[in-house]
Symmetry: C2
Subunit: 388 residues, 2 copies
């Protein structure tokens, strides 16, 4: 019998408070990497009513104005008036920034510590995932949840729906039959808005101008449910409605719950932190395996000990879709990918200021050329080596 | 052929900075629920060198001294001297707390908003999981990673290893054959320590007095690797070594990466927030299904729209271990569990000050009597109704 189930993923807009925090953290990271590619950065941000707090551990010789970076980021997102929940011009920006602990640094620096190689910046586990259910090799629900949010920002910023405000969330419930998405069951969108637009007008505009233009028509049915601003009102928004923190949207940042997650956040972290770099490498590995045709779906887990370069474990799972055994794929991964921090950073060219764009609409499944972890340049070699 | 793989999970101690933040947030929540069970609480904390920032949205008539709660929590954890990284007596405590947005409140309050029932406090997806690989029906690696961390705190506090300090992490790599844990491949423990203990003494004591007493002997082999304080030094710790935020250990809080995660954090949130209450309900559902013998492993996903009471989707997956079909189990879940926020809160008796103990060593797989979501009181009825 065909196995049928519903699966739900969500996304949030660039104006969501957690994403405001992520973008400030990654803008700080980019400003540092632009001047000092070897800077050590772990930048955490909290945003609340009228307030930005920037904290974390940063060791760099770059000359950084945190206040300006925070204000610029908030301005770019569109919070320019306290009436809409936040104002880049008048918010307070507090900083409480430390240097990287010298005890940690000795584990990470090449030539220091017990392992003389560049050690992982922390212990931890990271997953990478890919599935051929979309051309981007991303799970369908999160992929389209992001597209709805990008579209919300587009029609907000270009003036087509001038009563839209920056804060928003989307959620897609998708019906799967035998592992493939066959219909969109429910679409939830909540968007912040000007008080003068009626719930009816907002609902129609969001369905017609935000949702429908980006979803594949074949999967919208007469039965598709739309739940638009289901609280009935969403005027208060941004950091004024909800306190935001860096690293609190880690499922939105990755696979929307369709893959496992190791728990590490990305934004604000330089790539010596494997939470970020090894998760990017995990995506790169999984995507190349699927692109090579070795499997329809692939998940990899990799884990590290702090201060140690080589991963302590590597797992590959292809959910019964593999053309060769999972053990054989583990071997191929070990041969074709260097998963030590230094190897990942070199292969993916990660010491560049490319991170602020990752901090909204997903780190994966994007076609920006700098997102090197999406390249499928290893697929041919993997396919050949597997004898396919 | 027997499928063999390595799987890794991690835990952190109550002195880890993210857990310090979680415990402060949940101590605030408990203080409010003790006086005002209907208080609306979303409490976020940031801890950094010498600093606690408490923020979020709180609507209550309880009389709360945030400063005292923060200091008490930090004291209980054991940070009582700036020399060890933090001092409850002298740290700064800043508060920036808002009330719950009235736009959100109208969606959540019973009798208000578009859905007159008590609506979900947010949209989102939550997973629950159970597996019979341990008696607690928890995945093996996270279960034992927690036990190592609890043991670290025990021998630190009772004076057996007086040079231990509060901050620590553990990580377990486990070899699985055909879905069952058969050997412990690698144990990583990093623990903060007094500068005077040598790396050799620390390593031996941690292996003999922290790790071995809690791990099942049958799974420790001659090949088991121990990586103890692999950076070589961990004197600087706590909020002084690493900025901590509420909600940044969501995989440690749940299933260690062995199950999927919806992304929502728990600590600081009252149970009108489905991020917490529906994830607890998901564990309750999955655990009862496994306890009933309907499956060896069970994962459930549930999703909500903000302001709407009924879940927008429900999925059950038993990974081929089900004694009846997944579709049949969905039916049983719908019949035996009320997954509206009000139904969950009533069934699990969640409006009590029980949360600060959840904020370290995992929210699941614990045998504290107040952790109602661990009760298997529905197993008999499920088994009977399934005709097993
Ligand atoms: C509902 S809030 C989380 C709960 C909140 N901290 C509280 O105390 O009620 C999460 C997100 O929902 C969105 N949101 C805020 N106000 C909303 C409203 N009135 N209706 C729908 N969504 C809203 C924003 O994107 C916000 O960041
Ligand atoms: C390594 S830190 C994260 C990275 C950090 N923010 C930085 O900028 O380097 C994460 C956790 O590791 C642990 N830790 C801190 N210092 C350590 C050390 N010297 N060796 C091993 N673990 C350490 C603490 O539990 C800390 O919260």
């Amino acid at each position: 019998m065909a196995r049928e189930f519903l699966f739900t993923s969500e996304s949030v807009s660039e104006g969501h408070p957690d994403k405001v925090a992520d973008q400030i953290s990654d803008s700080v990271l980019d400003a540092i990497l632009a001047q000092d590619p070897l800077g050590r950065v772990a930048c955490e941000t909290l945003v609340s009513t009228g307030l930005v707090v920037i904290s974390g551990e940063i060791t760099t010789n770059a000359d950084i104005n945190y206040m300006d970076i925070a204000r610029e980021t908030v301005k770019r997102i569109g919070y320019d008036d306290s009436e809409i929940g936040f104002d880049y011009k008048s918010c307070a920006v507090l900083t409480a920034i430390n240097r990287q602990s010298s005890d940690i640094a000795q584990g990470v620096n090449e030539g220091e510590g017990l392992d003389l190689d560049q050690g992982a910046g922390d212990q931890g586990l990271m997953f990478g995932y890919a599935t051929n259910e979309t051309p981007s090799l991303m799970p369908f629900p999160i992929y389209y949840a992001h597209r709805i949010m990008q579209r919300q920002a587009e029609v907000r910023k270009d003036g087509r729906l001038p009563w839209l405000r920056p804060d928003a969330k989307s959620q897609l419930t998708v019906k799967y039959v035998d592992g493939k998405p066959v219909a969109i069951d429910t679409v939830v969108v909540s968007t912040q808005h000007h008080p003068d637009v009626s719930h009816a007008d907002l609902t129609e505009a969001v369905i017609e101008l935000v949702i429908k233009p980006v979803l594949p028509k074949e999967l919208l049915t007469d039965g598709t449910r739309y739940l638009i601003n289901p609280t009935g009102r969403f005027v208060i928004g941004g950091p004024n409605g909800d306190c935001g923190l860096t690293g609190r949207k880690i499922i939105v940042d990755t696979y929307g719950g369709a893959a496992h997650h190791g728990g590490g956040a990305f934004s604000g972290k330089d790539p010596s932190k494997v939470d970020r770099s090894a998760a990017y490498a995990g995506r790169y590995v999984a995507k190349n395996i699927v692109a090579a045709g070795l499997a329809d779906r692939c998940e990899v887990q990799v884990a590290y000990a702090i201060g140690v370069a080589r991963p302590v474990s590597l797992m590959v799972e292809t959910f019964g879709t593999g053309k060769v055994s999972d053990e054989k794929i583990v071997e191929l991964v070990q041969k074709h990918f260097d998963l030590r921090p230094k190897g990942i950073i070199a292969a993916l060219n990660l010491l560049r200021p490319i991170y602020s764009r990752t901090a909204a609409y997903g780190h994966f499944g994007r076609d920006e050329v700098d997102f090197t972890w999406e390249h499928t340049d290893k697929a041919d070699a993997l396919r050949a080596d597997a004898g396919l």
